[in-house]
C-alpha cells in the first residue's frame, strides 16, 4: 500500500518504474479495446412448423392478409414500397394504411391476420426491418415473409451476385 519511500525504513528498494510502464501499456490496451456496445434487441419470428414454404391458394379462398411489397429501383438505388395499389411516400403513410387495414380485421374478429412482407431480392435488409417495425407499432403479432425464390431446391440457381 502507499507508504513512505524513506530508504532507512526499507533498505531493499524496489524499482517500480518498469512495473508502471507495464501497467500503462495494459491500461492503454484495454482502453483501446474497450467498446461501448450499442443496445440491441430482437424480433422473434418463429417459422411455421406445419407448413411448407408456400400454400396453394384456391380461387374461393378469401385473402386475409396485410401485404406490403418492396421493390428495388437499381437506377436510383432506392426501395419502392407498395401497399395494395398505393405507392408509399413515407413511413407515416404506410403505418396509417397498415393500421387502418388491421383495424378492419380486428373488427371482423381476426386479430391473427398476418402482415406479409414481400420483398424483392436486392432490397436492403434495413427496409424489411423497417416494415416489421411499423407492423409491430400497430400491434400486429404475426409477421410473415413471402416465399421468394427457393435457393435450396434441387437445381435452383444460386443468388445472382
Amino acid at each position: 500500500m502507499a507508504g513512505t519511500q524513506d530508504p532507512n525504513e526499507n533498505p531493499v528498494g524496489i524499482n517500480v518504474v518498469p512495473m508502471v510502464d507495464v501497467i500503462f501499456c495494459l491500461c492503454v490496451f484495454f482502453m483501446c479495446s474497450m467498446k461501448f456496445k450499442e443496445l440491441e434487441g430482437k424480433f422473434e419470428s418463429w417459422l411455421p412448423k406445419d407448413k411448407g414454404q408456400s400454400q396453394p391458394m384456391t380461387q374461393d379462398m378469401p385473402i386475409e392478409e396485410i401485404r406490403v411489397a418492396l421493390y428495388w429501383d437499381p437506377a436510383k438505388a432506392v426501395t419502392l414500397r407498395q401497399f395494395g395499389k398505393t405507392w408509399i411516400q413515407n413511413d407515416d403513410q404506410l403505418q396509417e394504411l397498415i393500421k387502418a387495414q388491421y383495424a378492419g380485421y380486428l373488427q371482423l374478429g381476426k386479430p391473427e391476420t398476418p402482415c406479409i412482407i414481400d420483398a424483392a431480392e436486392m432490397v436492403p435488409w434495413k427496409e424489411v426491418v423497417n416494415v416489421i417495425n411499423l407492423a409491430k407499432r400497430v400491434k400486429i403479432d404475426k409477421i410473415q415473409f413471402a416465399a421468394g425464390k427457393n435457393y435450396e431446391a434441387p437445381g435452383a440457381p444460386a443468388p445472382k451476385k
Binding site: 500500500m1 502507499a2 507508504g3 513512505t4 519511500q5 517500480v16 518504474v17 512495473m19 508502471v20 501497467i23 500503462f24 495494459l26 491500461c27 484495454f30 482502453m31 479495446s33 474497450m34 467498446k35 456496445k37 450499442e38 443496445l39 440491441e40 434487441g41 430482437k42 424480433f43 422473434e44 419470428s45 418463429w46 417459422l47 411455421p48 412448423k49 414454404q53 418492396l70 420483398a119 424483392a120 431480392e121 436486392m122 432490397v123 436492403p124 435488409w125 434495413k126 424489411v128 426491418v129 423497417n130 416489421i132 417495425n133 409491430k136 407499432r137 415473409f145 421468394g148 425464390k149 427457393n150 435457393y151 435450396e152 444460386a158 443468388p159 451476385k161
Partner: protein, 159 residues
Amino acid sequence: MSRFKTSDVEENVACNLIPMIDIMFLLLLFFMLSADMSQRVTEDMKLPVAEMVKEDPKAKEGYETTTVNLVGENDNWFVKIAGHGYPNWDDLKLTLNELAQASPEPGNAPGQFFSSRAIMLRADEAAPYKHVQRVIQQCSLVGFYKIEVVATKPGPDKP
C-alpha cells in the same frame, strides 16, 4: 562569510509513485472487468434500427441460441458463426445441420425434425434481402424454426 546559509540536510525530492500505482491498478481492473469478451460471437456491423425490438437479446429464455452473422460489402456477402466465415453455402448448411442435430426438440414426431435451438440472425442493414432469405431457408431446412432478427434501438445518433 557567505551571504546565504547553506542547508546541512539534503532534501529528498523523489516522486512518490505508490499512489499513482494504486490508481493505475484500479484503472486496469476497471478496464479488464468491463472488457466484453462475448463479442467473439458477434461481428462488427451496422445493424438495422427499430424501436419496437425486444431489449436484451442475451436474456435467457429457456433455449440455447446460436448467433448467425451476415456480413460483407458490395456483392460479397457471407455468414459468420463464432468468428468462422462460411463463404460456401454448402459448408454453412453442414454446420447448421450439426448444430440442429445437437439439440433436438423434445417430442419430435416420427419423420420430422425440429431443433430447440434458436438462431439469432444479425444481418447488416445493407445486406440484400435475398441473402437473409437464403439463410432463413437453410435454417428452416435443417430444422430450426426459432429465428430471432436482431436490430438496434434508435439512439441520439440514430434517428
